[in-house]
């Protein structure tokens, strides 16, 4: 099995002999080892395992406390925890499930039983991850779907507002897309959408949020971007789309995009208002001939946009 496909386990146990046995038994897995709870929590900052095998009685913080902390953390709460312990009494077992454990195996364990339980937890975790991905992803393009976009965008808007930091919204719409679908078929249209989304995502930093709102309409939120940065980004995207050679289409076929830009500094009270502003500018870009970026109600820009200072104080002026 390729390294990337191998399920990853974190084994937390303070006894070397137990680790020797577990490491030997779990030879088909990519295994990370921690000797105590604090080390395990440290490791989880860098690694996300499929399943955690967790001893209970350990120096420092015990397995219950480790589990409690993991279940309180949004990044770790969905990782199944399989307690593996010499505590055989019912109260310990019940407590393990109360703090969020997914399964409980006692030492001495039976090898095949342990392997079966680990496998089931790995499969469960992977299935849940896939469902989570599907729930937030647009199936065709791989961008965030509409629901996920608005949910995440709401948080970005609130964060930017609370910290008084710049935030820009871009609304993007592919020009004359219906003609591609009608003229060359939906397969070519779908391929074009996929290619467009892949290209945009490749150009964006990880902090930015990109989603498909429907059809050929997309939205982008750029935290930290003032009007100048957002306009430059929009122009970069516009130019890149115009250069894009559509893989599944005749060589002469080109695609263009119109983009409307709005920034939080212009006074939008909420996310809807910000997106409405960007959408209104997108409409103007369309009306004024398409394949352009519109950043205010009255001025469209090209690559060499006029510039002033940064942040809200330096918003581009019409």
């Amino acid at each position: 099995m390729a390294e990337a496909e191998r399920p990853k386990l974190l084994v937390v146990d303070d006894n070397e002999s137990n680790l020797d046995i577990l490491l030997g038994l779990l030879a088909d897995y990519d295994v990370i080892v921690a000797l105590d709870g604090h080390s395990a929590l440290d490791l989880l900052r860098q690694e996300t395992p499929d399943v955690i095998l967790l001893d209970i009685v350990m120096p420092g913080i015990d397995g219950y406390e480790v589990c409690t902390r993991l279940k309180a953390h949004p990044r770790w709460r969905d990782i199944p925890i399989l307690f593996i312990t010499a505590k055989t009494d019912e109260a310990s077992l019940v407590r393990a499930f109360d703090v969020g454990g997914s399964d409980y195996v006692t030492k001495p364990f039976r090898a095949r039983e342990l392997l079966a339980r680990v496998r089931i937890q790995v499969e469960y975790h992977r299935a849940m991850e896939q469902l989570r991905r599907m729930a937030v992803t647009d199936e065709l393009t791989g961008a965030h779907n509409r629901r996920a976009f608005f949910e995440l965008a709401g948080r970005l808007f609130e964060d930017a507002q609370a910290r008084a930091e710049p935030l820009a919204a871009l609304m993007l719409d592919l020009d004359h897309f219906k003609q591609i679908n009608d003229g060359y078929g939906h397969a070519v249209g779908d391929a074009a959408l996929r290619q467009f989304a892949a290209m945009v995502q490749a150009l964006l930093p990880a902090t930015h949020l990109f989603g498909r709102l429907g059809g050929e309409e997309f939205a982008l939120l750029a935290p930290g971007a003032d009007a100048q940065t957002a306009t430059e980004l929009a122009e970069q995207l516009r130019a890149a789309v115009a250069e894009l050679a559509l893989a599944a289409a005749p060589s002469h076929l080109r695609m263009t995009v119109s983009i409307g830009v709005a920034t939080l500094c212009e006074g939008a009270a909420d996310l809807d208002a910000l997106l409405r502003q960007a959408d209104a500018r997108l409409f103007e870009a369309k009306r004024d001939g398409r394949n352009q970026v519109r950043r205010t109600a009255r001025l469209s820009t090209r690559a060499s946009a006029e510039r002033s200072g940064g942040g809200c104080a330096g918003e581009l002026r019409p």
């Binding site: 070397e16 002999s17 020797d20 046995i21 490491l23 030997g24 080892v33 009685v57 030492k107």
Partner: protein
């Protein structure tokens, strides 16, 4: 080519059939696990009676640890003693007088079990002083292969390369890969300094103290 290790003789106090089943019938792994146990756990119950008398939480922690380890290993009689000790220490109030008997028994019997295991493993068994814990059998084979080839030991850059290769799994907390890299490092340790470094790293890597091992390695590189 690695040869199949000879079958283990009966070891008094140890259910080797259960351990073999737990290790999915891998005799080399069984030997490696037993060798490491004998090398590192001889003194694990030494302070148990003292803890029972003066530090009940410490005694409970130790006896619980022994219970899990001895159970997994198939040391059934000692596992029963450790389990009984745990029960007595968990009683409200704990029965210290009654708990002393299994504690003393574990204190006496654990070194004997380690000796029996070391004797059963034969002359290639690691010393029981806890310093040189065994590498897994595959890695031992690989290390022997490297030594037999000889060329790595004479290449001055080979040791440096092997050190770099060891650093990676140490950083990523991958014990299995770290043991393999350590075996390769051991195979090309030619000078006394290099062998000393390997000797310093071995108990840390086989004892899963990977961050400590990384610290030693980095100090060596920067020193």
């Amino acid at each position: 080519m690695a040869t199949e290790p000879p079958p283990l003789p009966d070891i008094p106090g140890l259910d080797t059939v259960a351990l073999d089943e737990r290790m999915q019938g891998d005799p080399a792994l069984v030997r490696a696990v037993l060798g490491h146990f004998a090398a590192t756990q001889r003194a694990a119950a030494d302070r148990l009676p003292e803890l029972v008398q003066h530090d009940l939480p410490g005694a409970l922690h130790r006896s619980h640890d022994l219970k899990g380890m001895l159970g997994n290993l198939g040391a059934d009689a000692l596992y029963t003693q450790a389990a009984q000790l745990c029960e007595l220490l968990r009683d409200e109030p704990p029965d210290v007088r009654a708990a002393l008997a299994p504690a003393l028994q574990l204190q006496r019997a654990l070194p004997r079990l380690c000796d029996e295991i070391a004797a059963a493993l034969g002359p290639e068994a690691p010393p029981t002083d806890g310093v040189a814990a065994p590498l897994p059998p595959v890695e031992q084979g690989a290390a022997a292969g490297h030594r037999a080839a000889g060329h790595q030991a004479q290449d001055p850059s080979a040791f440096t390369t092997a050190l770099t290769r060891l650093a990676e799994p140490l950083r990523r907390s991958r014990a299995r890969e770290a043991k393999q890299a350590l075996a390769a490092l051991s195979a090309c340790a030619a000078s006394a300094d290099q062998q000393t470094l390997v000797a310093d790293l071995t108990p840390l890597v086989t004892g899963y103290r990977l961050r400590d091992a990384l610290r030693v390695l980095e100090q060596n590189c920067h020193g």
